[in-house]
Symmetry: C2
Subunit: 222 residues, 2 copies
């Protein structure tokens, strides 16, 4: 469906239609999560969602447009949540970072494909779109990390640490675990996408990262 | 060179031929590293290596066989190096772990595609092949981590930590950094595959991981 048809058709924000749009994104997200992949087929999407795959064209232009919309949906939630956390005046930097790392784990548990989707879109998009992704999601997260670490350093609770490199350490540790699920499943008969393992990995990662960043005199035995 | 020429030609283990096999693997490795991808085209491989792509069929059966051979080449080097490190009787667990983490960074700097190649092969191979990969590479690395952490715990220098989860934390932090290079390049005009940044990230990661695992009374200010 091209632009003209859209304009002539139902309004984009009618309840049924916005429900269908969300359902397409939810289903795409589930397929990626279960299959541990970013390449999904429109026929599987149509089968699983019960919606005609022409709706992908209607809402998103094409498959790449739908992937972009899914990235926007997931990344916007992250940036909003990090901003809200940073704005909590009554919370100290250590508590904020603990809370944040736990949320990173939960995010990759829910969207284990997120990092690969981001890489894919940056790689395959034109420069303007890559720049949009960078400006809208990566730069704000980078600034948030910088601010949080600076405040902890000022309060004397964190060691001096490069916030950009720290960002890669934290998201890498979280991403690697859940994106390794097929290895664990095939090779060790274990599924990482269980709530029990998520909780165990969350505790491990929060403890580990906090031990890595807390100033020596703030370290406690565990 | 087609199959007939190959069969009629020199034996498989003649120096020229084994040179060609290595050259194909080296070139495939370079293409993956530079392009930040695992899917390479045989025509690019042929163009870059100067070898006829029929040699892929001759040495590896097909493209999947070549990917398997590349994984074997890179993973065998890692397992051998970890085993050698563990066998060093005069080295204490802390020094061994420091050395190992530095090597993990160097490995992902050289082969930033390695984790994705592993995931891809486990996902797309049959059960027997996935099991072979697990038995030959993942299980030995898992046992090595378990042994190293147990010896550090016994010596009182490490905190109690789950060695399997720790494995994901370390490799995830290393992998994420170098596989994010296209994001850094497109979005921040920065290339992660420079020796300067590799060295900076190595130092950061070694410090960070050691701070995360050392017992509180072994922590020093930096």
């Amino acid at each position: 469906m091209n632009d003209t048809t859209v304009t002539a058709g139902v309004a984009k924000d009618s309840p049924e239609q916005s429900g269908a749009r969300e359902l397409l994104l939810d289903t795409a997200s589930q397929i990626m999560r279960e299959g541990d992949l970013v390449d999904i087929s429109l026929s599987e999407l149509s089968l699983r969602s019960g919606l005609n795959s022409a709706l992908v064209k209607y809402y998103f232009g094409n498959k790449a447009g739908m992937l972009k919309a899914l990235l926007d949906r997931d990344m916007e939630a992250i940036v909003t949540s990090v901003d809200a956390l940073l704005a909590k005046d009554h919370m100290n930097p250590e508590a904020k970072l603990r809370r944040h790392i736990g949320k990173v784990i939960d995010t990759y548990y829910n969207y284990p494909y997120l990092n690969r989707l981001l890489m894919r879109l940056v790689r395959d998009s034109d420069h303007a779109e890559s720049q949009r992704i960078a400006d809208k999601y990566l730069a704000p997260l980078g600034r948030a990390y910088e601010k949080l670490i600076a405040s902890g350093l000022k309060a004397g609770v964190f060691r001096p640490i490069d916030s950009q490199l720290f960002y890669f350490t934290v998201t890498g540790a979280a991403d690697r675990f859940f994106s390794a699920r097929l290895v664990l499943r095939h090779c060790f008969d274990q599924d990482t996408l269980t709530e029990e393992l998520r909780d165990r990995y969350r505790e491990h990662t929060v403890d580990f990262v906090m031990a890595g960043i807390l100033a020596p005199d703030r370290q406690t035995s565990r």
